[in-house]
Symmetry: C2
Subunit: 190 residues, 2 copies
Amino acid sequence: MAAALELFSKRDAEDVSIDDVAAAAGASRALVYHYFGGKQELYVAALRSAADRLESRLRPHEGGTSLDELASGLRRYFDFVEEHATGFAALLRGGPANRAGEVGEIVDGVRQRLFRLILRQMRVEEPSPVLRTTLRSWIASVETAGLDWLEHRDVERPTLEKMLVDHMVALLGVAASYDGEVAGLLERLA
Amino acid sequence: MAAALELFSKRDAEDVSIDDVAAAAGASRALVYHYFGGKQELYVAALRSAADRLESRLRPHEGGTSLDELASGLRRYFDFVEEHATGFAALLRGGPANRAGEVGEIVDGVRQRLFRLILRQMRVEEPSPVLRTTLRSWIASVETAGLDWLEHRDVERPTLEKMLVDHMVALLGVAASYDGEVAGLLERLA
């Protein structure tokens, strides 16, 4: 599994064969087929494993304000983006696999878990519509900034990470002018 | 084509058959096959036509500041989202079709054209890395806000549109603190 994840992270999935995975894992082609069934299944399994790893990395470390946690969470997110560069880009650009079905669910699952992590970190039980829209928008913009960064790498990563934290603060500032609850939240965060 | 677009806009593509399209267009099944080849081809053609329509709607009307234009552009964007609700949601969630290949290119093409429209409206020739990342992030967040709105419809559309304009201003404000050129741009926009 680790070997497959490594290969799918570094190369386009089209260019990874079962033979490559078998060779990297020091296993036979038959064994890989036996365990995973086929390349699409192997890709989905690798993706699921990558999603779990990302989630466990993003779990907040204790200490610091919510914004400190957000900053260090973004750093760990971009570590992940950088380590899995090709796979991340291919996946979010549509990828080799059908986005409907399992692959789409894994990607949406990561977004959902990120959303809940942020809510928990902000100590919000049930977000208002304005807060929900704001956080989902921010998550989408982080993903896109990640893709843009992989494509161009013409902004320093620490600068980009800092800018995205500033985005969150600015977007919450906008949300606060539409929703009194968010205004209270923003005071707690500072 | 109009009949196909109408059907794909209102229903999941899985639930649209060539027979449905033929019936809606008052044509024979054979004729639809003759012109489009198959359902996937028909879907791609409908999508391309929808993308062209969206683009022509978003072309700025003259007059007003850039922010006025952005506000009216967002209104036209959400008109489109609302008219093509099911198709829009299915497409951006991964959709029935493989996102790689033609469908992915059409979706990316719309994003690219939106990006260039906004640059032209802002009278920017070549965006700096910070401005590029900011605009792409904003476009992604508008898309996500559109999906979120279709799912929940618990924020009034005019409120959401106004909030997204405020997002743009707030994000450009952040960008300006990283990039002197954006600061100049922001003064011109106000």
